[in-house]
Symmetry: C2
Subunit: 618 residues, 2 copies
């Protein structure tokens, strides 16, 4: 192992950067390589918010730091690494950054590459994880912890940054504990990554990648909305990536206003919350069975709206479905468990005698399913003989169930239109997009903070960036104890401390906003196509106004909670006449493809007149 | 009928515009409403290139014109209508434009709306067809022609613009003939619409919507390429909309450089071309059977490349498949024909005795197919009992066939990796996107030309815009006889003159370019993420340089054949020192989100120094 890693390391260190450069860059990609990031982080690490004692960091301390990407991709991951790298370059002297290749397996197998200025350059502000790639292995067993220890010793690591989701950060916490218990000098810091948006807490307001993925999906949803409205005959069923939690689906709904949105958490979150998130999901789901959150309920809800819309003359619509929907419906889980059991031991006879082995409720559900889904449930099994739930395309299943149910209603005289369902799954194309301006800056700040935390000797923290509603320059960076995110869950029959997935909160502002308008959206068509916009930021805005005088400050207003642009900002001039000239010259002019609308702000903030351009929604 | 149409017309005329306005606009959508279009068309209609005599158009002639959208949506359709409207407003006095609702059925049923400035405003420069919606009905039977005649008489129509694809323009031609034969004053003009790109000829270099759809798909393909490279374990199989022809697939391949691209026309175009495009496709396809363009050949081709890539260490890739692929493979058509026959008369017994009724070749093919596809072929039938070919997801079929074939090779010792296929269909989200700058201008010009052609008394022409490689101001507009696009095809057992679909030409520059690089793309990874860019045009460029001096002209260079931006342009200043100042000030500055690269052009064109900014790829 050590010989392979040595050859690996030396080979990669001398070779030119792989992949990206050979590929060639589009104009847009290339343009992003040299962009100055907006993050102006504190030049003194002691200004960074670190719990406990002040850091004893020194400029001449040479650090050896490792970084690993864990799990599925999220836009901005490369920038976390760039942030760490730039911190080490700027704040420490002669430090080394190792990138472990292919995820946590790279740590265990000591497969790494030394990251240099030239090596990371092609990945700055770009999507994907291909700089060092990722993987889904976990460091769990005593042997695996020992392998990680060997790597830390071999490379003489001062620290390790784990960029990942809830499981990976749980891992990071355990690894920090393990290293500490072994008296290793290596510290461990986590970074919150996942497009799913389910890794967050008070100090970590969002996980990176969520913003970009939602923007990409919302753009596509906006397009199929126009399609629905134009053809007047399609119901577009859009399944959205996001695993168990429905954050992406909810956010996309708020951005686009579809007719129907299924939020998985609605069915069972009451039980879940009552147990204070500490019970295993499986148990939680079982309790929901009593609540009658059934597939029939979901399809009835959709069917009712389709029939209501038909009465109003709308024979089309857009429906959003979270990827994890099927996992939220306990009766489906129960049916599949029974099917697995039956298929393992019995022959499925054509005459259907085998069905008698299903429990009555499961049998009813099975009969309710469209034939193609029945076949799918009986045919497609994984190597262990289990039905592959993840491969069941919920959006298609719902379409087929709609066809059946609407046919019933037609026969009953309560529906007289043609139903045309079109299925979509928006997933992979979103998790690898170019990071939005927000994710670009947020990730860089996360990485910068991680570097500073390690430099100041901290371990077991997750990198945290706060005050996201303020301009980037006013963001705060720091660390939050990973243990503060953790709770005890039962896994594989044992109670273990894990980071709990943050589900959609039914009492939170986003869901409440959605709940207050969904009935209107269902019946009326409030479709909204947000459009893509990646290029408005303080710098481009300053550039646009610079030639008219001395621009002292540019502020784009961001939403306090999400950090997203609110579509307008302020340009401060030191002289009133220059502001007037700028207003006269730029008002109505095209800026980034659209006309600026400029007015003087009502209040003369800081003694200077203010120009308020309205930026496009971002 | 007439009473319903009257009430319909009066009701809609007095009601506020439907749909869009109630929905609310995003910033991006709203920004497009008031944009001045770049098309500066000849102010004198006689300058428009019209075959035959000069028009006798008069400014005070009051015209009654109808317009209809036919078939699937394509970005820019609304702008065709705006172009017609603005021509009539600007060049004729008191003219009326009727929009027939829901496609050609709106003509036959005399369902229309009078289009006013306020009514069409919300749709300017927007995607979709929802201003008047579209439909797939055809005006074909003598009764239907008579209905169209009644409508033309009832509304006292001077002209009708049919916006549609090959079939719709064929229809337009027949309708023009019919109206002429009936001595109706109503003229008929067609407009080339289809994202598929298969309606074109020398005078009509492209159909509108193709440019936008390809850009949207290419962006998404670029993203899954990053995904493939980052995970290192997925083969993304992407099926692209585009019906029979592979234009979209070829164009997206050229924009993104995938590892494998299947171009349907390669298998059979030789026969097709030999017959000078005049034989029916069904016959053409039958002849291909002899050419052995089989599903096995396609899968072998893909499998070989996957194995070769595995040897090189690449266990991932991206594969583009045209929507129409399955229609190009005659043996599949043959199998399905036989299955339809068997399923209509026989019981499909579990033991498989029924398979003996298949011809030997068809049976071999059936056995080659994965079980799920076999089931799909036997289960899913339309109301007439036919297998629904369109519902067979070719990308999934190919993935399953890869799994089988790679398993065979694993057993034979020639493959030892894990194959993970991910399927995608990019379709609806592309045909309803916001039109690109090109489609925005192109469509407006098409509509403007259609108005001018009708005004000058022309009929039976398709609106044509030429010189697309030049700046928009130098585009030429005119008309081309629809009959010049037509040929005789056998349909429903009769020979009929129809507009032939333009397939991908294997001797054309795009395919030849692709053919010259595909081997490299297959083995090496030349992935290219073009990124979206909608906002660079001459106006935004002029605005950016205006403040540095007297900008006399701005030229963005466009590709001669496609009209697409080539990524750079010229800014002419009247004074050399101003050009120098502009260069110094703007070089390296962010423009539309990316830095400009500026240099002086080598030749001092027109006696003035030239600034050459490189625009981002568009």
């Amino acid at each position: 192992m050590s010989s392979s890693s040595a050859s690996n390391s030396s080979a990669t260190a001398s070779n030119p950067p792989p992949g990206r450069l050979a590929s060639g860059y589009s104009e847009l990609q290339e343009s992003r390589l040299n962009v100055d990031l907006l993050v102006k982080l504190p030049q003194n690490p002691s200004a960074i918010l670190v719990p406990g004692s002040l850091p004893k960091a020194a400029l001449d301390e040479r650090l050896k730091i490792g970084v690993v990407l864990s799990g599925g991709q999220a836009p901005g991951g490369h920038n976390v690494i760039c942030g760490i790298f730039d911190y080490l370059q700027g704040r420490t002297n002669g430090s080394t950054l190792y990138g472990f290749k292919g995820g946590p397996a790279g740590i265990m197998k000591c497969k790494y590459i030394e990251l240099t200025t030239d090596f990371i350059h092609p990945y700055r502000n770009q999507g994907g994880f291909d700089m060092i790639c990722s993987g889904r292995d976990k460091i769990e067993t005593p042997e695996q912890f020992q392998q990680a220890e060997e790597t830390a010793l071999k490379l003489d690591l001062d620290g390790l940054v784990v960029i990942g989701g809830d499981d990976s950060n749980t891992n990071a916490c355990h690894l920090a504990e393990y290293f500490r218990s072994k008296n290793l000098k290596s510290r461990v810091i986590g970074c919150p990554k996942t497009i799913d948006g389910d890794l967050k807490c008070k100090e970590v307001p969002t996980s990176f990648g969520f913003d970009t993925a939602c923007k990409i999906y919302a753009e596509m949803i906006g397009n199929v909305m126009i399609d629905a409205r134009s053809t007047g005959k399609y119901y577009h069923f859009v399944r959205l990536m996001g695993r168990a939690a429905s954050h992406i689906t909810l956010e996309c709904a708020l951005q686009t206003h579809p007719n129907i949105t299924i939020i998985g958490e609605e069915g069972w979150v009451c039980d879940y919350a009552r147990e204070e998130f500490s019970i295993p999901m499986a148990i939680s789901l079982m309790q929901v069975a009593a609540k009658k959150e059934t597939l029939k309920n979901v399809t009835d809800y959709i069917t009712d709206i389709i029939c209501k819309r038909a009465e109003l003359g709308y024979n089309y619509g857009v429906i959003l479905i979270p990827e994890g929907l099927i996992d939220f419906i306990p009766e489906v889980q129960q049916l599949i468990a029974e099917l697995n059991e039956i298929l393992a031991h019995d022959v499925v006879d054509k005459s259907g005698v085998w069905k008698k082995k299903l429990r009555s409720q499961s049998r009813q559900l099975f009969e309710l399913l469209p034939q193609a889904i029945q076949e799918q449930l009986l045919l497609e099994r994984d190597p262990h003989g289990n039905v592959q739930v993840a491969k069941i395309e919920t959006e298609k299943m719902l379409i087929q169930m709609m066809e059946t149910e609407l046919e019933n209603r037609r026969n009953a005289g309560s529906y007289d239109k043609q139903f045309n369902g079109q299925s979509h799954f928006f997933g992979y194309e979103g998790r690898c997009g170019l990071p939005s301006n927000f994710d670009t800056n947020y990730c860089y700040a996360l990485g910068y903070a991680a570097g500073a935390l390690l430099h100041s000797g901290k371990t077991g923290l997750i990198s945290s960036v706060g005050n996201l509603g303020a301009p980037v320059e006013e963001w705060t960076v720091g660390g939050t104890p990973l243990t503060s995110l953790m709770d005890v869950e039962r896994r594989h029959g044992k109670f273990k401390p894990v980071i709990k997935k943050a589900m959609v909160e039914l009492e939170g502002a986003p869901f409440k906003k959605f709940a207050s308008v969904r009935e209107e959206w269902a019946i009326k068509n409030r479709y909204f196509n947000p459009g893509l916009s990646w290029s408005v930021n303080e710098k481009t805005l300053k550039d646009a106004f610079d030639s008219y005088g001395d621009v002292t400050e540019v502020r784009i207003l961001y939403d306090k909670e999400t950090g997203r642009s609110r579509g307008f900002g302020f340009v401060y001039f030191s002289k009133e006449d220059e502001a007037r000239t700028a207003k006269d010259a730029m008002d109505g002019k095209a800026f980034l493809g659209r006309p600026l609308r400029i007015s003087f702000a009502l209040d003369k903030v800081r003694g200077a007149p203010v120009v308020v351009p309205r930026l496009r929604n971002q």
